[in-house]
């Protein structure tokens, strides 16, 4: 970034990619945005593009880290169930009116560090419960939705601790712009090409119909089942409202759902997990019959345990995702302490709920039917990273034969 003007231009390009590729917003759609207060420069650009595309209303719900921290620190300890229900009602109303949803993440990974973890955990639970109606709609792709990132000072400091604040800001924005292809001469065309490539990978895996994946790397000896009818997804998706959208920017992953009943062995995380304002580090999970039977963490084990104890579904897996270690984000070699980035740097799995659209016909099933087909249901959906340059993955067919899917963290098949 050589000047404010060029930064402003980059923000405008980024906004365009978000509205046109991420959301693919249509004229007449209202747009709901959830974002932290310090992202206003980007949000204003997004609103401008959205209105120019004919958005009927851009309705922004701002969150403020300072206010969130004050609550966790000073609120009465029995007040955790207080919740601004009007926020959820407002979002549901926008969805009802055929709207789209955008979430901008820029949270401070250490926001709630050092605070009463019991209370923080209860706040997190209340958030999960109250937000569930919106999450349910989003996770079945009822509408076009998108999650993107923006610079935040605390986040930049965490990612680039050795740099001065101004440099850290520049580096984080640069990482965001490059990984979302905003620095390409024609970002929209670059996204079209990228999405096609992801589609080829997912088509290949779809045709294979593996019944399981087996993972081997230092600390990891693990396998998970893939249910019949699992669907590999990557790049963009088709929403129930007929709009093709790209749910995450950046996105480098191909993903599907694991069978909630079939996971065996131990898997070691290769990145810390930022959860509810705390970092869980150096952790591993051991599975039997799809269920987490043991957790181990070098730091914040109690928070990891709270996460797993949220509900029955939080003891099981809901997503399996493949990303080569050489992905544009992975090859930067930084830890972003942010799922949106880290999950596109590395193979990962998710504790909790499975996306309905990752099971063929999944949107039509009742909860019971979805679960008996292998789909998991939970208030949580928390990704954590297990990939590295030392990870080998095999696909296992119904007849037990094995085929290499990844070797040393890279794709082991051509498309």
């Amino acid at each position: 970034m050589s000047s404010n003007e060029t930064h402003q231009q980059m923000l405008a390009k980024y906004a365009e990619v978000i509205v046109k590729i991420g959301l693919n917003l249509r004229a007449g759609q209202p747009l709901s945005i959830r974002t932290p207060t310090h992202t206003s420069a980007l949000v204003r650009e997004i609103a401008r593009v959205a209105y120019q595309k004919g958005a009927s209303l851009v309705d922004v719900l701002w969150s403020d880290d300072g206010v969130s921290r004050a609550r966790a620190e000073f609120a009465p300890r029995d007040s955790h169930d207080e919740y601004p229900v009007w926020q959820v009602d407002g979002m549901l109303k926008i969805i009802e009116k055929g709207g789209a949803m955008l979430t901008i993440v820029a949270v401070d990974p250490d926001l709630l560090n050092g605070l009463d973890t019991g209370f923080v955990g209860k706040l997190q639970q209340a958030q999960l419960k109250n937000f569930d109606p919106v999450r349910t709609i989003v996770m079945r792709n009822a509408i076009n939705w998108c999650v993107v990132a923006a610079y935040g000072s605390a986040w930049a400091r965490k990612v680039f601790p050795d740099f001065k604040p101004a440099q850290a800001e520049e580096k984080l924005w640069q990482a965001i712009f490059e990984s979302t292809r905003v620095t390409e001469p024609d970002p929209i065309a670059a996204w079209d090409r990228h999405i096609q490539n992801l589609r080829k990978r997912s088509d290949y895996l779809q045709a294979k119909k593996y019944s399981a994946l087996s993972y081997k790397s230092p600390g990891t000896d693990f396998s998970l089942g893939l249910p019949p009818g699992h669907k590999w997804v990557g790049g963009n998706s088709l929403a129930e409202n007929g709009i093709v959208f790209t749910a995450n920017m950046p996105t480098e992953e191909i993903f599907t759902l694991p069978d909630r009943h079939r996971a065996e062995g131990t898997v070691a995380a290769t990145f810390p997990l930022s959860y509810g304002g705390n970092l869980i580090e150096d952790f591993s999970l051991t599975f039997e019959n799809g269920c987490i039977v043991k957790v181990n963490a070098g730091k914040n084990q109690s928070i990891l345990q709270q996460l797993v104890d949220t509900d029955e579904g939080s003891t099981r897996l809901g997503e399996v995702s493949l990303v080569p270690a050489s992905s544009p984000i992975g090859k930067r070699g930084y830890l972003f302490y942010n799922t949106l980035f880290d999950e596109n740097a590395s193979c990962h799995i998710a504790i909790g709920r499975a996306y309905r659209f990752t099971l063929i016909g999944g949107e039509e099933l009742t909860d019971e039917e979805f679960m008996s087909a292998g789909g998991n249901i939970s208030l949580n959906h928390v990704d954590f990273m297990i990939g590295s340059g030392k990870m080998d993955i095999d696909g296992i067919k119904d007849d037990g034969t094995r085929e290499p899917v990844m070797r040393s963290g890279e794709w082991a098949f051509d498309v």
Binding site: P30, S40, Y51, A55, D59, D64, V67, P84, D89
Partner: protein, 412 residues
Amino acid sequence: MNETEFDQKLGKYADVVVRVGLNLRKGQRLLIRGILEDAPLIRKVTESAYKAGAVFVDVLYTDERLNRIRLEHADPESLTDVPGWLYARYEEYYERMDADLAISSTDPDLLTGISPERIAKYRKAIMQKMEPLRKYENTTNWCVVSTASPAWSKKVFPELSTKEAQEKLWEEIFAGCRIDMPDPVDAWKKHVTNLKKYRDYLNDQRFAALHYIAPGTDLMIGLPEKHLWAGAQAEFKNGITGIPNLPTEEVFTTPHKDKVHGTVLSTRPLSYMGALIEDFSLTFENGRAVKVAAKTGEETLRKLIETDENACRLGEAALVPHSSPIGQRGILFYNTLFDENAACHIALGNSYRETIIGGEDMTEEEFNASGGNKSLVHTDFMIGSDQLDIDGIKTNDSRVPLLRAGEWAMDV
């Protein structure tokens, strides 16, 4: 002020807002509404409120720049689309008797250059949507305060850099809110006691009318028989006593909606919906503004009084001595909260129920019959100066000087 000093003062300010302005009670929830630039105060107030026993602080931020972007770029037909949650949020908290803080730090020039039609359409839609909330007037403890937002500060002190202008405006806010006093809470107690004396005197007199004389102004404001002077403190229906505006220097009542005659000249510009109306006068007959003139913003002024049937009538008359701590500074703030505490003013539009005896329990018809005005708008504008004389006129036509050369003329 260095950063530490500023931080300490901001903390004191937040404490005054929570303990004196809102008089927040343990177990209440607190609603806060402000613009993004209000964040430093909002965070302090949040902390102070939780320490005072609030069970939840619900902060609603607005980005006022987005309002401008919407007015500039959105399909004009869509401007009347007001999200329903805005109303629902207030209703939910008012029903539970929770506390309500609004922060007023808007950029006075925010909507400069946007067509008045668009603004009026947009504003009216919001006012109509929110109108039913009027039934909760003074139900719960509420308060309005300000912060020195960058754009507003720069407007007040255009010759300074934004940073210096903010520092200067913060000083004004802290001084006006008595944060500089060694014991701000005690200073507020004394100030309220003093204001109450004027309020009680005026209530005892039972004036039939007020007569305003100043250069360009000769205005007779008839008062309803059951008018009530309010000011300083308010007793809310939830049983809490608080101070709804910080700063506050005014005592006020409602004019009789049909009994205003003559011409009044504004003494300060009016910032309305991001547009400035300057050097304007209004001529009233039988309570209605029948003639308006303005050097700038006449169209906006016209739009304002045409908002609905009664936006052309008065809903408030407020007395503030010219030497009020805020008036003394001789600064034009372009912000009603400050300017209205610097000078005598009147308001176009809605009357406060509390300014008529028993008004809060009246039906709309009863309130109107008593002389109260009902409108979507309530917009104050300044008419005070050091050349303003006001007489109180009793039912037997005898006159009592209330203000001479802008200062209180009676002993209380």
